[in-house]
């Protein structure tokens, strides 16, 4: 209801007032134009003057005729007066005047005067007083007629004038009424205008207050605030922004943004502003802001919004929040996390190692138990049967047989001892107790020592040491380990060599390493087992039926790697060749 009333007063009333104003104005304009047109006085209405002039001309002609008779005027003068009167009559006979004369019904009299005048001209040079008298007689009614005509003309003109003035008055009254209406409508319009002006003023005041408040907010904001127009020129630059960039507002406003600081030229910021021009807001976190080359960059969070006016994007507004402290805190957090992760990884590694050791110990014991049950039983059975036989034979046994039986038992026990030793070695290796005491060694000496020992242990098997092509046979390793590696390989070679075939050992080398190849003839190791044989407790398919722990190659390989060398199975087709590689001794390495 109130809205409707507001609408009625706010819009309808002025609209009606304007309509009334326009209609009345048009009406009074039309009326005034009519009056203006009517007020052009037609000169044909000036008949009073024409008749007066005609009367004067007639009277002066009569007078001149009399004066001619008295000899006080000449013929020329008389002729002029006649012409003047004739010209008056001619005027009266002309269009508009003639019509008026006919209106007042004096046309016959006028014709008679004209005819009389025609008879008088031209005036003879010998104009006699008698003729003068006749002329005066003829013109006598003329003056009277013109006088009467003037009288009638006056009445007609006054009637006409009176009527016309009455019409004017009526029209002017209408105009006055219209003007009063116009004033009324104008008053309403003026009042409406005043109300509208007051409202506008109040709104302007409110707008100004809110603008001042906004300006206060912007200037006192801790965030850097700037605005750019569509051309990329800075239109707003607050104090916080001046502090961040190092340029006061006076230098910044009106300048292209890209020229104010290199920071505003970076691609993500330009893209954000472009997006704002398309009407989308965007945020950029922790952008580095370099004020100059020397100082550390500050890190700012950016928010970019479009600025609109009547729905049209007229620019963009940017908020820069100094987030350097947050960035530093984040960086610290990240570093702490990395450190923690490293620590955890290290601990995990330690735990994994420990677990692996535990597992291998468990495996060892399990395998040891299995091996004991299987491998240890055979030599024990051999020793047992030898001793049983000795006991059964009793005194009948000769001394040679006693020695033979005892040696068999001892061999079995020696094998058992070796088994126990190698098992313990691996256990020490697993426990990390087996440190390498590396030094300068002559490899050929080690080879000779081990081969001699092997020949002594098993004289039936031929072991050949092939001549070394290398003069320098010094290596850098723990000699005890080297002996054990070589011993393990020789034992294997002897164990798996074809019956009667020799085992050969050859030392050679390259620039970095010396190699020792141990070769035996026999069945080659199947392709699918070549990698597996170096594993702990792995026993090849051809090892069934022979004593062994499955630890020899594992031990040899592990020890070789501890010396900085390695152990390989050479790709042979006739027999099996294992190669030990050990680093050459270099004086600087000692």
């Amino acid at each position: 209801m109130i809205r409707f009333r507001n609408l009625a007063f706010g819009l309808l009333l002025p609209l009606v007032a304007v309509l009334v104003f326009a209609v009345l104005l048009t009406f009074s304009l039309i009326r005034m134009l009519e009056v203006e047109n009517a007020m052009r006085v037609g000169a044909e209405k000036n008949m009073l003057w024409v008749f007066h002039q005609s009367e004067v001309a007639a009277r002066r002609l009569t007078e001149t005729a009399a004066l001619v008779g008295l000899g006080e005027a000449d013929i020329e003068e008389l002729s002029l007066r006649i012409d003047i009167l004739k010209s008056r009559v001619a005027i009266l006979n002309d269009g508009p005047q003639r019509r008026f004369v006919e209106e007042i019904a004096l046309d016959d009299e006028l014709d008679r005067i004209a005819a009389a005048l025609e008879t008088m001209t031209p005036v003879a040079a010998d104009f006699s007083p008698g003729e003068g008298a006749r002329l005066r007689e003829a013109l006598k009614p003329a003056a009277r007629i013109f006088g009467r005509a003037a009288n009638k003309a006056m009445i007609a003109e006054w009637n006409d004038l009176g009527g016309r003035l009455e019409t004017y008055r009526a029209q002017l009254r209408q105009i006055i009424l219209s003007l009063i209406g116009i004033m009324g409508a104008g008053g309403i319009l003026a009042a409406t205008l005043a109300v509208a002006l007051r409202q506008t003023h109040q709104r302007n005041l409110m707008l100004r207050q809110s603008r001042d408040f906004s300006a206060l907010l912007i200037s006192s904001s801790g965030e850097g605030i700037l605005a750019v127009d569509r051309a990329g020129r800075c239109t707003l630059w607050n104090d916080a922004m001046a502090g961040l960039i190092g340029k006061p507002a006076e230098q910044a406003t009106g300048q292209p943004l890209a020229e104010l600081a290199g920071f505003f030229g970076i691609a993500p910021l330009r893209a954000g502003i472009a997006r704002a021009f398309e009407g989308d807001s965007s945020e950029l976190a922790l952008q580095p802001l370099f004020r100059d080359e020397q100082t550390e960059p500050r890190y700012v969070d950016l928010r970019i919004f479009p600025m609109r006016n009547d729905g049209e994007v007229i620019g963009a507004i940017l908020f820069l929040h100094d987030a350097t402290d947050r960035h530093a805190a984040q960086k610290r957090d990240a570093e702490d996390r990395d450190r923690l992760e490293d620590l955890v990884a290290e601990r995990t590694r330690d735990l994994d190692d420990a677990l692996r050791r535990e597992r291998s110990a468990a495996d060892l014991y399990r395998n040891f138990a299995a091996m004991v049950s299987h491998q240890f039983r055979t030599p024990l059975a051999v020793a047992d049967s030898a001793l049983q036989r000795l006991i059964r034979r009793g005194p009948s046994v000769d001394s040679d047989e006693v020695v033979d039986r005892a040696n068999r038992a001892r061999n079995a026990i020696a094998g058992l001892t070796r088994l126990v030793e190698s098992t313990l070695d691996v256990a020490r290796l697993d426990a990390g107790q087996l440190g390498a005491q590396r030094m300068r060694c002559a490899l050929n000496d080690i080879v000779r020592t081990v081969c001699t020992r092997q020949r002594d242990a098993d004289p039936a098997r031929e072991i050949r040491i092939l001549p070394s092509p290398d003069d320098d046979d010094t290596v850098f390793c723990d000699p005890a380990h080297a002996e054990q590696i070589l011993e393990n390989l020789l034992l294997n070679a002897v164990k798996y060599a074809s019956a009667g075939s020799p085992v050969s050992v050859c030392v050679h080398g390259d620039r970095q390493n010396l190699f020792c190849d141990v070769h035996n003839e026999g069945d080659p190791i199947p392709e699918n087992e070549r990698d597996l044989i170096f594993n702990r407790n792995y026993r090849g398919t051809n090892s069934t039926g022979s004593a062994g722990t499955g630890l020899g190659l594992f031990m040899a390989g592990t020890l070789a790697r501890m010396q900085g060398g390695d152990l390989f199975l050479q790709p042979d087709t006739d027999g099996v060749t294992f190669r030990i590689s050990l680093p050459r001794f270099k004086p600087s390495a000692a």
Binding site: I84, I91, G95
Partner: protein, 158 residues
């Protein structure tokens, strides 16, 4: 300079021609602030001025008429008239004051022929001051209508 000299010569010839004419043929007296103080001009002298024809209606006749004569300002220029006002008198002693500006603003003519026929003294002749009434709306006013002096006989420049 040359133009001015030529004009002086023409004026002298005009006056000389006028002086030679018989007293009875004089149809226009010009007095007052002109080069020679007075000038008496006959029909022949006046017809030597550049001829101008004007089509206009009048307030005392029906329809439009063709008026032939000369421009008032041509005559006043020839006579070296200096002043603000011209007092025109007619044969019937009708007298009216015409501002000089009328002749510069409008092509006001002094007609000696109407519709090809010479104006006669017993009509509106021999000379009739005619304003280009149809050509200028400002002239359609009774304050100009009374300046149409017919039977013109005298001009006094003030």
């Amino acid at each position: 300079m040359l133009k001015r000299t030529a004009r002086m010569v023409a004026a002298l010839m005009l006056i000389g021609g006028g002086a030679l004419a018989g007293q009875d043929d004089i149809i226009l007296d010009v007095t007052g602030d002109i080069t020679d103080g007075t000038a008496k001009l006959d029909r022949e002298a006046l017809q030597k001025l550049p001829q101008v024809t004007l089509e206009t209606s009048t307030v005392v006749t029906d329809g439009t008429h063709s008026f032939t004569g000369f421009l008032m300002r041509d005559l006043l220029d020839r006579l070296g008239a200096q002043g603000e006002l011209v007092i025109a008198s007619a044969l019937n002693d009708y007298v009216v004051e015409i501002p000089m500006s009328d002749f510069s603003e409008f092509d006001v003519i002094v007609a000696y022929r109407m519709d090809g026929k010479p104006l006669q003294r017993d009509d509106k002749g021999p000379l009739w001051i005619v304003y280009p009434r149809d050509q200028h709306e400002a002239l359609q006013d009774i304050r100009y209508d009374y300046r149409w002096v017919w039977q013109l006989s005298r001009l006094e420049v003030q």
